[in-house]
Structure formats: structure tokens, C-alpha cells
């Protein structure tokens, strides 16, 4: 049906239905606004469709097999076979269920869902271009718009994504067979998560990283635990190499990388996964029709209330700057919607947690000891090794530690770094502690369930106070 160009009106136009956009739309709907949510691809965005959720599904599924295969010490002898097609189908069913859920939630909140790509006509009007020929377009007048277009993977020159040989993280989550040899470019969190998973599935993974360590941005002792485990799994690390190009060979491909002296190394592979970071999506928005000027890196700058420089336009999530994390996007989405509804909301959270789903996992929140010192605190640190945790022992998974950073004078908790099984869950408690302005004593004196990994956070706080029971107090 050709719709032509009709004009409709809405209070709030949300562009992008990822974890930022759909949350903003639902909240705005709850607050009585007439909301239109536009999505160019799939409701739920990258997070639900091609990112967080599907990758965690594959990681969890793979771990079932991996643990079974490596449980001789626990008296289990098994050799499970991985049917990647089956696993991906299951993953897709999880994704479908969640995205359907998102649509349902939006509808229940009175949000109108539109498929299409939105571009600004001016600061109160956007044209929605529907996919496919002859679908036409429509123009929507809005009082406020929330830009939540998210991000896309960065391409490395010479490695344009083709979905068969050169894979983006999205492609890697939909393979039907496990590649025999996989080269991963980039040892950041996405590269490390996927490399670990494919190695566990049976691939022979080589990670090529330009810097000299895995997981740049994390403290050395945190990254080391994960890197050591990855090496134990059989992953090869090639640090200090920049991927330059690749070509097809008879039995696959060869990936070339160059060190700083110009020396070329070659790696045979079936597929190459490029995971060197993500960049914001602003080029589809026709921002020229507004007074918004993206930064050099393509982000839309926003204030504490998620306002762009333009009165009527807000921006949230990846497109509004680092850290590019789904939960940050969701938090900003709620704030933008509340501000539009006239509430005095603001993004004044003290810390945004982050998790890496490697083996073991990493969870961090707030400041490292070094950051605390730079911020003018006189930090004290408490640490608890997983090998002293009864639960970690009983899980046969004792690598890692919980570290807490606090202000030495006031004993307020400032940050935590956890590298441990379930670190992504454990970090939540420390996030709450920081946000509430808890002191070490508050966490140390809270009774934690035994036997659980969470006791480690309690002990780390006690350790900072010099009164841990199950580890040496410094």
C-alpha cells in the first residue's frame, strides 16, 4: 500500500527501540504522553537482537558443554557434542520471546510502534521512511524527540564485513557451524567474550590485538586472570599487531597483521571476527536539519537531563556517549522521559556498573584505587581471593578476587572490581552500596548467605577494615 506522505502528530517521538528507546517510550507513556516509537530494524535493538542477550545465550549454552567436558575432577565423564544450528535456534527463540515482550510492554503503555527510519525535517518534525520500495513515508510532528539510535560495530580498513569471511559480532552470533580456525581482531570485551565462547565450542582461536594486553581499560591484575584462563583454554594472543588485510586461500583465508616495525605476520583462518569497538549512529538522522552538531566521534552531547543543545531534542544511550552500555541507555531513557513530563529527573548516579562475560566474569563499578586517588580521596582497599571462598571451591572455580575501594577517612565505598564466576551478578551489591553512600561497615556487617560467592564482597569490605575472617588482613 502506498501511503504517500501523511502528517501525524505526537508528544514524544522516540527514535530507536533498543534498551534506551523502548524504556524511554514506556516511561513517557506511563507519564501520560502520546508516544511514537520508531525502529528501523528490530524492536529491542542491538542489545536484544544481536548483542547482549544472544551472546549471553550462546555463552551459557556453550558453558553447559564446556563444564561437562571438564568435570573429570568432579567425577563426571562426558563428551557433549555441540550442534551450533540447534544452539542458534534456541538462542533465536529466546530473542523472539524478549522482543515480543518489548512490543507488548510498549503497547500496554500506549506507545505507537512504527517501523522505519527517522530523519529530522526540522526541530519539531521528522520524516519516517519505511523500508522497501513503494512503502512511502510519513511525517511526524513532535513536541519532543528522543534520539536513541545506538551504535554499530567499527570496521577495520581492509576488513569490510561480508558476513561469510569477515564477521561482525552480530554475524558471529548466527553461524551454523563452528569455524575450525577463527582469528579475532580486538581483545576488548566483545572480542574476549566471543573468542572464549568459540574456543570452548571447539574453534582454534587467535586473538590479534594492537595494544600489548587483553581487556585494555581494566586493571592489570583483573585482566590477567581472564587472559590466563583464556590461554589455558587454548586461545593464542598476538599482541602489538595491527590487522592490515586478508585474502582467500584454497582452504579458507589468511589474515595479515603488522607490528610497529612493519613486520608482517600471517594467520590462517576460516573466518575473521572484527571486534574493535562500536561507533554511534547519527548519520541516518539528517541532523543538519537541526542545530545539533555531533562531536568528532559522532556522539550527540547531552547534559545531566539528557538534553541535546536543542530544546526539543533529547539523546540517550550509545549515541549520547560513553560508556556504551545498555543499562546506561535504559537509565537515561527513563530520565529523558521524566524530564519531558516535567519531572525534576537527572542522571546523577554516582556509578555505572559494567560486566564482561568472559571466563571468569568481570564486574566493575565506581572507582579503582588509582581513580579514587586522582579524585582526591585517600583510598583504602580490601580484597578477598576466590580460593578462600567455600562456594567457589564447591563450584570448582576459584580463580579471581573481589576488591573493594573505599575512602580512608569516611570509609564510604567508592568502587569495586570483581573477577570471579558470577561477577556480573556480584557487582550489583557494590553498586547499591556506592549509590546509597554505604560505608564499609554497612556491607561488612550485613549478614550474607552461606555458602555463596556474595560472602566474598562482605569479606573484602571487612578486609579493608582489617577484620576479615577468611583471609589475611593487611
Amino acid at each position: 500500500m502506498v501511503v504517500g506522505d501523511v502528517t501525524t502528530g505526537t508528544d514524544v517521538l522516540v527514535i530507536g527501540a533498543g534498551p534506551g528507546g523502548y524504556v524511554a517510550a514506556i516511561r513517557a507513556g506511563q507519564l501520560g504522553k502520546d508516544v511514537t516509537l520508531v525502529e528501523a530494524d528490530a524492536f529491542g535493538g542491538v542489545c536484544l537482537n544481536y548483542g547482549c542477550i544472544p551472546s549471553k545465550a550462546l555463552i551459557s549454552a556453550t558453558d553447559v558443554a564446556h563444564h561437562a567436558r571438564h568435570a573429570e575432577r568432579m567425577g563426571i565423564h562426558a563428551d557433549p557434542a555441540i550442534d551450533l544450528t540447534g544452539m542458534v535456534n534456541w538462542k533465536d527463540s529466546v530473542v523472539r520471546r524478549l522482543t515480543k515482550g518489548v512490543e507488548k510492554l510498549c503497547e500496554n503503555a500506549g506507545v505507537e510502534l512504527i517501523e522505519g527510519r527517522a530523519e529530522f525535517v526540522d526541530e519539531h518534525k521528522a520524516r519516517i521512511v519505511h523500508g522497501g520500495d513503494g512503502q512511502g513515508s510519513e511525517t511526524i510532528e513532535f513536541e519532543h524527540a528522543i534520539v536513541a539510535t545506538g551504535s554499530r560495530p567499527i570496521e577495520v580498513p581492509g576488513f569490510e564485513f561480508d558476513g561469510t569471511h569477515v564477521l561482525s559480532s552480530r554475524d558471529a552470533l548466527s553461524l551454523d557451524t563452528v569455524p575450525e580456525k577463527l582469528v579475532t581482531i580486538g581483545a576488548g570485551y566483545i572480542g574476549m567474550e566471543l573468542s572464549t565462547t568459540f574456543q570452548k565450542m571447539g574453534a582454534d582461536v587467535t586473538v590479534v590485538e594492537m595494544l600489548d594486553d587483553a581487556l585494555p581499560g581494566y586493571e592489570d591484575d583483573v585482566a590477567r586472570v581472564v587472559r590466563d584462563r583464556a590461554e589455558d583454554l587454548g586461545i593464542d594472543f598476538e599482541f602489538g599487531l595491527a590487522a592490515s588485510d586478508w585474502e582467500r586461500t584454497d582452504d579458507g583465508m589468511v589474515v595479515r597483521a603488522e607490528d610497529e616495525d612493519g613486520e608482517i605476520s600471517e594467520f590462517a583462518a576460516d573466518k575473521v571476527l572484527v571486534a574493535v569497538g562500536r561507533q554511534p549512529v547519527t548519520d541516518t538522522l539528517n541532523l543538519d536539519a537541526t542545530d545539533i552538531e555531533p562531536t568528532e566521534n559522532g556522539f550527540i552531547e547531552t547534559d545531566e537531563q539528557c538534553r541535546s543543545g536543542v530544546e526539543s531534542i533529547f539523546a540517550i544511550g550509545d549515541v549520547a556517549g560513553e560508556p556504551m552500555l545498555a543499562h546506561k541507555a535504559s537509565a537515561e531513557g527513563e530520565i529523558a522521559a521524566e524530564v519531558i513530563a516535567g519531572e525534576p529527573a537527572a542522571m546523577d548516579q554516582q556509578a555505572i556498573p559494567a560486566a564482561v562475560f568472559t571466563d571468569p566474569e568481570i564486574g566493575t563499578v565506581g572507582m579503582t584505587s588509582e581513580e579514587a586517588e586522582q579524585a582526591g580521596f585517600d583510598p583504602i582497599v580490601g580484597q578477598f581471593p576466590l580460593r578462600a571462598s567455600g562456594r567457589a571451591l564447591s563450584m570448582n572455580d576459584t580463580d579471581g578476587f573481589v576488591r573493594v575501594v573505599a575512602d580512608g577517612d569516611s570509609e564510604f565505598v567508592l568502587g569495586a572490581q570483581i573477577v570471579a564466576p558470577e561477577a556480573s551478578e556480584l557487582i550489583a551489591e557494590m553498586g547499591l552500596a556506592i549509590e546509597m553512600g554505604a560505608q564499609l561497615e554497612d556491607v561488612a556487617a550485613t549478614i550474607h548467605t552461606h555458602p555463596t560467592l556474595s560472602e566474598a564482597t562482605m569479606e573484602a569490605c571487612a578486609n579493608a577494615l582489617g577484620k576479615a575472617i577468611h583471609t589475611m588482613n593487611r
Binding site: 525534576p344 529527573a345 537527572a346 546523577d348 548516579q349 554516582q350 579514587a372 579524585a375 582526591g376 580521596f377 575512602d407 577517612d409 569516611s410 570509609e411 564510604f412 549509590e435 546509597m436 553512600g437 554505604a438 560505608q439 561497615e441 554497612d442 561488612a444 556487617a445 550485613t446
Partner: protein, 528 residues
């Protein structure tokens, strides 16, 4: 550790000061003698200079905190020294008693120490520690949470703190301006004209910041409190279920550290009183009656501190120490009014605003010379009456912060114009709070001009340890019998309060008569 700068004794016998303004922030470079902060003591604002050149490391108190003399105010990374050198502390405070007091206080209880520590660190690293709920409330009430001083554990900002801060801001903006200096003089009365009008709480907030201060124990089955609060409760020997609170979390009564401490103190005070009054008798059962929570919203609580408290302490001491007698009379000041009218333009030529006050001061000094009993103080320790052969006259002045009494020295040796300009300057300084402690001290007799605002008679409270104070009513045209005829005359009322321990009523009357002679005919002052 950095150099720890302790609050010095900023004025004779001052034990503590309220930190009014920081002039520096952590990270600021400072020079020796550069002003670090303004501290309000006794009755004046004092600039606190830096003893060192270097970089500000940490501010240990927040604006609005009361800082005991001898407590570390600020830490400084001294230029040319390793930032982490050995702790160096200086005793900038030569203060004797104050220091000892501070030390004893600190030793009194560990709990107290933790509280002080909290105050110091609430703004460490430029960060405010507060729960998201408190942050949200601050935004709703339009309070900048960075400016709120926290009363929670470690100085955490609680919802209560945010509400208190919001109310403070509200009352500040509505404080009435008392600068209604009438025709008569700059000096105003000690009639409490700077009262803050009672403001109702911002509407729409269920919780109230006012905490019941009763000693009555609550008797709950269950109480929410953080582990840190429970620990404090243990330390001070209080059952959190007994701590009165009207704050709830998730429908459960919630108690914070401040409430625990307040209750513990109240308990101690009550016990002490009970032991005294009803020795042997059991303390009456804790009241089970309704707590005045419903009424709490009808009231507002403000800290009794700073200038207000100084005034209060001073008034209390005077009124309860010196038996006051007040002598009232009225005087025909038509001659004075005429004399002033005549001299006023002359004074103006020299840029001086001539008021009645210098005439009154001169008349007072003339009368004091005849009746030296009124220019005295009583040295209670030595049982001696101190007769003063100098005439320093204090003039009560209403300021936004409250009553101040700047003192003009050696009134007997100064002319009208000099008195006028000195007084004008002192009043100005008192109002903009740049007056020094010395300028508020050393008076031998005081005058209060309540008539500036209006009123016939009042009973002034003596500016202790002086022994007399003269109150001036308004100058008004009244019917006056002169030579057997009723004529309109300019008439002023006077009210003289005396310390009856030193001065008798007859002397007060005689002094007043002499004073009135001079006021009636100011040319007599020429004989002085």
C-alpha cells in the same frame, strides 16, 4: 599527611565559631595570609588567614558547621614539602581553655569522635554521599545537594538534611529587613525586629524533618536502621526500638545515626534530672501517649547558634544575674530638635549625617560624670565594684544577623561630628558584618534606641557586665504643660535599666534627671 591547620582562637575567649564561607576549595593554590574562610564568632565575622603557602588539600568542615577552636579546619599541602610527609600539626590556637575543652570533648566518647569525623569528610573528593532517594528529593525541592551538610553516618546526606536545607533556604529569603532606621538615629532598638516569620513547610511532602526531641521512648517491635547506625546505638547503649522517629522506610519505622545520638543524649539528660529530682523514685513509665508528630508540621526548627545564641546567652546571663530595675521618664527635647536642625546642614557640608545619638551620648557622659555609679561593673569574683574613668558607650544596633552593640570609645574626648562619623561607620560595619570583635567590646554604658522603630517605653536588658542601659523612645509632638499652658512640644521618653546590686533607684532617678536637663537644653553641653 598534609599540614593540618587548626581553627585558631579568633577572639578572646571564643570556644567555637560557625564556618560561614569558604574562600578556598580543595586543589586551590594559596599564599600565606590569604583568607581561607570566614568564621562567625561571638558577635563578629572573622577572616581566617592561611599560615602557609601551598595547596588546599581538604576542607574538614562545611559551611554552616560550628567548628570548635583547635579542631582541624583544613589540610594544606605545603609548598616545597612532600605531599605525603609526616603529619605536622600546629597549634595555631594559643587558646587555653578552648583547647582543653576541645580535647576533653574529643576524649569524651568514641562516638562523638566518629560524628566529628563525619562532618569533616562529607565533601571529600568533591563528592556528596547520598542515596538516590535523597538526590531525587533534593531535585524536587530545588536544593543543590552539594551545599547540604550531611548528618548521616560519615556525613552522608539524608532526606532529612535535604528537607532542612530546603527550609533554611526558604526562611532566608523571607527574613524581614529590619533596617527601618527612622529620623531619630541609625541605632535601633533591641526590640526583636529581626525575627524570621514562621514559615510553613513546603507542601506535598509526607515526611517531616522535625524529629521529636522527647525523652519518651518509643516502643516498637521492629526498627529499620543501617548496620553502622546499629553499631552506634550499641556504643551509646541505646535500643533502636526505643528511639523516637517519624521517618519510615517501606512502611517500617527508620532510625538514623543522628536520631540515635539525640535520643541517647536526651536519655542521659533526663536521667540526670530524674536522679536529682526524684531520688529513689522510679522514672515514670515511658509515655505511651501520642507523639506530637501530627503537630510537627505546624512548627519549624532552626538551630540555636551563632549570633542568635550569643545574644541569647548574653541576655540570659544579664537578666538572671543582675536584678533589673527600670526607671521611666519623659523629656521635652524641643531644644535638642532645634539644635540638631541647626547643625545638621553644617555637618552635611563635611559629609557627615548628624543624628540625635551623638547628642544623647554626650548628655549621657555628662550625667555619668556626676553619677559615676552608673559607669561601673561588678567584679563578682573579687566582690569589688569597678568604677571606670573612661566613657565607652555602646549603641545597640539591629542587623540582619541579630542584635549587635558596637562601642564608641572615649566619648568624653570626642566632638559631635567625630562621634557621628565614628558611630555611622561602626553601625555600617555591624550591618555588613565586617565589624571586629574589639569594636564590640570594652563598653562601659549602653544606649538602645527602641524608639527608632516605635514605642514609648521599654525595659532594656543591661549589656552585662555593665550596670546600666538607657533606652530611648520615639521623639513625638505631644501636649506639654509649660508655664501653666498646654503647648505642643517635641517629647522623648527614656527608660533606664540599672543593676540594682550596684545602683539604687534614687541614683537612677537622679541620673535620669540630670540627663534630661542636658537633653532639654543641649547648650549646657558646652560647659562640659
Amino acid at each position: 599527611m598534609a599540614f593540618e591547620f587548626k581553627l585558631p582562637d579568633v577572639g578572646e575567649g571564643v570556644a567555637e565559631g560557625e564556618l560561614v564561607t569558604w574562600h578556598v576549595a580543595p586543589g586551590d593554590a594559596i599564599e600565606e595570609d590569604q583568607v581561607l574562610a570566614e568564621v562567625e564568632t561571638d558577635k563578629a565575622l572573622v577572616d581566617v588567614p592561611s599560615p602557609k603557602t601551598g595547596t588546599i588539600r581538604e576542607l574538614r568542615f562545611e559551611e554552616g558547621d560550628v567548628v570548635p577552636v583547635g579542631d582541624v579546619l583544613v589540610t594544606i599541602d605545603v609548598e616545597g614539602e612532600e605531599p605525603d610527609a609526616e603529619p605536622e600539626t600546629t597549634d595555631a590556637s594559643q587558646a587555653d581553655a578552648a583547647d582543653v575543652e576541645a580535647a576533653t570533648k574529643a576524649a569524651e566518647s568514641e562516638a562523638d569522635a566518629t560524628e566529628a569525623e563525619g562532618d569533616e569528610t562529607s565533601a571529600t573528593g568533591g563528592r556528596v554521599f547520598a542515596a538516590p532517594s535523597a538526590r531525587r528529593l533534593a531535585r524536587e525541592l530545588g536544593v543543590d545537594i552539594e551545599t547540604v551538610s550531611g548528618s548521616g553516618p560519615g556525613g552522608r546526606v539524608t532526606e532529612m538534611d535535604v528537607r532542612a536545607s530546603a527550609e533554611e533556604a526558604e526562611s532566608e529569603t523571607t527574613t524581614s529587613d529590619s533596617d527601618s532606621a527612622g529620623e531619630t538615629a541609625e541605632a535601633a532598638s533591641d526590640a526583636e525586629s529581626t525575627e524570621t516569620p514562621e514559615e510553613s513547610q513546603p507542601a506535598g511532602n509526607g515526611q517531616t524533618a522535625t524529629r521529636a526531641t522527647q525523652v519518651q521512648a518509643a516502643d516498637r517491635e521492629q526498627t529499620l536502621a543501617t548496620p553502622a547506625t546499629r553499631r552506634v546505638a550499641n556504643e551509646v547503649g541505646v535500643d533502636v526500638n526505643e528511639v523516637p522517629t517519624d521517618v519510615t522506610r517501606d512502611g517500617e519505622p527508620f532510625v538514623d545515626e543522628a536520631a540515635v545520638r539525640e535520643y541517647a543524649e536526651a536519655q542521659q539528660a533526663a536521667q540526670a534530672a530524674d536522679t536529682e529530682a526524684l531520688a529513689g523514685e522510679q522514672e515514670p513509665a515511658a509515655a505511651t501517649g501520642a507523639e506530637p508528630t501530627a503537630e510537627a508540621e505546624r512548627e519549624r526548627r532552626e538551630p540555636y547558634k551563632g549570633v542568635r545564641k550569643t545574644i541569647g546567652d548574653q541576655m540570659e546571663r544579664s537578666k538572671y544575674t543582675a536584678p533589673h530595675v527600670t526607671h521611666h521618664d519623659k523629656v521635652d527635647v524641643t531644644g535638642l530638635v532645634e539644635a540638631r536642625e541647626k547643625l545638621k546642614p553644617r555637618a552635611e557640608e563635611r559629609g557627615i549625617k548628624l543624628t540625635y545619638m551623638p547628642f544623647v551620648m554626650k548628655a549621657v557622659v555628662a550625667a555619668l560624670k556626676e553619677y559615676p555609679d552608673l559607669n561601673t561593673s561588678l567584679d563578682e569574683e573579687n566582690d569589688e565594684i569597678v568604677y571606670k574613668n573612661y566613657y565607652n558607650v555602646g549603641v545597640a544596633t539591629a542587623t540582619e544577623a541579630g542584635l549587635m552593640v558596637p562601642v564608641v570609645d572615649d566619648v568624653d574626648r570626642k566632638g559631635l561630628l567625630q562621634l557621628s562619623s565614628e558611630l555611622n561607620e561602626l553601625v555600617e560595619k555591624a550591618r555588613d558584618r565586617s565589624i571586629s570583635l574589639d569594636e564590640l567590646r570594652g563598653g562601659t554604658f549602653s544606649i538602645t534606641n527602641f524608639g527608632a522603630i516605635g514605642g514609648e517605653y521599654a525595659t532594656p536588658i543591661i549589656n552585662y557586665p555593665e550596670t546600666a542601659i538607657l533606652g530611648l523612645g520615639a521623639i513625638e509632638e505631644r501636649p506639654w504643660v509649660k508655664d501653666g499652658e498646654v503647648v505642643p512640644r517635641k517629647v522623648m521618653t527614656v527608660s533606664l535599666s540599672i543593676d540594682h546590686r550596684v545602683i539604687d533607684g534614687a541614683e537612677a532617678a537622679a541620673f535620669t534627671n540630670t540627663l534630661m536637663e542636658y537633653l532639654e537644653d543641649p547648650t549646657l553641653l558646652l560647659l562640659e
